[in-house]
């Protein structure tokens, strides 16, 4: 396959950045999108040019390291797929593909397609600890859990924290991420002990990082590679208001 790439190149966070056009003549349809970038970078290195910086780690769709906005969609055109699991067979011979970094004030570009997503780490840290007994693992059924709650919690816990929700949201809001992280604990009996404090602390950190406000556009759910539902955002709204107005907890 012949693929023309328009890739965002930016030397560092101070650089203005621009698009560069590259043409790859021998792209295999079995390659993943990242493998195509590996091939591009090998060619650039052979030509003594600077390779394109992009993030990747597991390449199995579970680590959340890969990013990229491909033709206007975070993680590209396939539903419920990360960039590393996106294969070139979903594109056509001769296609021109525009590749940009995630764009959000809270995710500043470090270089080329790499953005600083440490705002998410700080939100997770603000959630604090959860109380569990150490030592021997307890019997699996010692705490009864409603099956539907367990399923909903597991669906929320599928969030890999990649930031596609922020990249997709026209407001660059982090509500889907934060709601997935609070819901996966708040839906379970084990998560109740710190639930009230956690939800207030994480929302406060989220607001402080400069993400936008949710206006229920639902682009986040449409682009989430783990298909996290906006039902979690409604739950976060509920849990947050309930904690602020219905408890004595102040963060």
């Amino acid at each position: 396959m012949k693929i023309t790439l328009k890739v965002w190149r930016q030397k560092d966070s101070a650089d203005k950045g621009r698009f560069e056009t590259y043409t790859l003549n021998n792209v295999s349809e079995h390659m993943s999108f990242l493998e195509m970038f590996d091939v591009l970078n090998e060619e650039l290195i052979q030509k003594k040019e600077v390779p394109v910086a992009f993030e990747h780690d597991c390449r199995e769709g579970i680590c959340g390291a890969c990013s990229m906005v491909i033709n206007g969609r975070p993680h590209g055109p396939m539903q419920g797929t990360t960039t590393c699991q996106l294969h070139m067979r979903h594109f056509n011979d001769g296609d021109t593909i525009v590749v940009e970094p995630f764009r959000a004030r809270a995710f500043p570009v470090l270089r080329d397609l790499v953005v600083d997503r440490s705002a998410f780490d700080r939100i997770i840290q603000s959630g604090g600890f959860i109380s569990v007994n150490t030592g021997q693992a307890q019997d699996a059924n010692a705490i009864p859990v409603n099956r539907d709650a367990a399923e909903a919690s597991f669906s929320a816990a599928a969030c890999i924290g990649c930031g596609a929700c922020v990249a997709a949201c026209p407001n660059a809001s982090a509500m889907l991420f934060v709601s997935a992280k609070t819901a996966h604990l708040n839906l379970l009996p084990q998560g109740q002990i710190e639930a009230k404090r956690r939800v207030q602390a994480m929302v406060k950190q989220m607001d402080g990082e400069g993400f936008g406000n949710c206006s229920n556009v639902t682009a986040c759910e449409a682009e989430c590679p783990k298909e996290i539902s906006v039902k979690n955002i409604a739950k976060l709204n509920r849990d947050y208001a309930g904690s602020v107005m219905g408890s004595e907890v102040e963060v």
Binding site: K6, G17, F19, V69, N71, G72, R73, V98, E100, R103, A104, R105, A106, F107, P108, V109, A168, P170, N171, A172, S173, M175, V203, K204, M206, D207, G210, F211, G212, N213, C214, S215, N216, V217, T218, A219, E221, A222, E223, V230, K231, I233, A234, K235, L236, N237, R238, D239, Y240, A241, V244, M245, E250
Partner: protein, 239 residues
């Protein structure tokens, strides 16, 4: 009290204010429509020689009955809060994208219209301008203007009906009102269901109902308002 300020200035608190004021305005529109339908003669059944009586007596009630007056001041406040808060959110959200925009945009949504949902600020601004024009044209006339008087037996009543009927002999006003109602309908297409999601109401049983109700509301209520100037204009042609 610091907690209350923190709550109302948090991202979720600000959206909650939008949701609650929006839901109040949604309720208000229904009441407003029921009153306005009395402008239509086939609804009002005014007897011959007393055309406009039902509407004029309703308008008098609206401006003199104390509980309604109290609620109306709440209404003005809620319109302003919804508008000002909306503009602030619009500005903050635009800034949150950062200095560089996407070169290619392909926006999708799962259960709303993405084109509408991302243009709520523009739609709201158009609607706000319409509300100012509308209030200047009728509300201010009723409150302070020099209106013709009508008498139905027990004292003079301000004849707002005649003012409205005269306005709608002008096709430009008719177009302004019909187009504005279209924008209100589009705004509500996203706003109605969005208000419930912000309240935290997303439920397997109720959400499908809310979505259907919202779509029905955002078509029928603006349509009901839009019919009035059109019918009154057509009547003026026959007269």
């Amino acid at each position: 009290m610091g907690w209350l300020k923190n709550f109302l200035t948090s991202s979720i608190g600000k959206k909650l204010v939008m949701s609650l004021t929006g839901l109040f305005l949604i309720l208000f529109l229904v009441v407003h429509l029921i009153g306005n339908l009395q402008l239509l003669q086939f609804m009002a059944h005014d007897s011959a020689g007393e055309i406009g009586r039902a509407f004029n007596e309703y308008a008098l009630k609206m401006t003199t009955f104390l509980p309604i007056k109290v609620v109306s001041y709440g209404l003005y406040a809620f319109i302003l809060i919804h508008a000002v808060q909306g503009w602030m959110l619009w500005r903050q959200n635009a800034a949150a994208r950062g200095p560089v925009r996407y070169a290619v945009s392909d926006l999708r949504a799962v259960n709303t219209n993405a084109r509408v949902a991302t243009r709520m600020g523009w739609l709201g601004t158009i609607i706000f301008i319409f509300i100012i024009l509308h209030m200047y044209q009728f509300w201010l006339q009723m409150k302070m203007g020099n209106l013709p008087m009508a008498n139905y037996g027990d004292g003079d009543v301000k004849d707002l009906y005649t003012i409205v009927a005269e306005a709608y002999t002008n096709p430009l006003y008719v177009i302004l009102y019909v187009v504005s109602m279209f924008f209100i309908g589009v705004h509500l297409w996203h706003g109605f269901q969005s208000a419930f999601q912000t309240l935290g109401l997303n439920h397997n049983k109720y959400t499908p109902l809310i979505h259907k109700l919202g779509k029905g509301y955002s078509i029928l209520v603006p349509l009901g308002f839009a019919i009035i100037p059109v019918v009154m204009y057509l009547q003026s042609l026959n007269a």
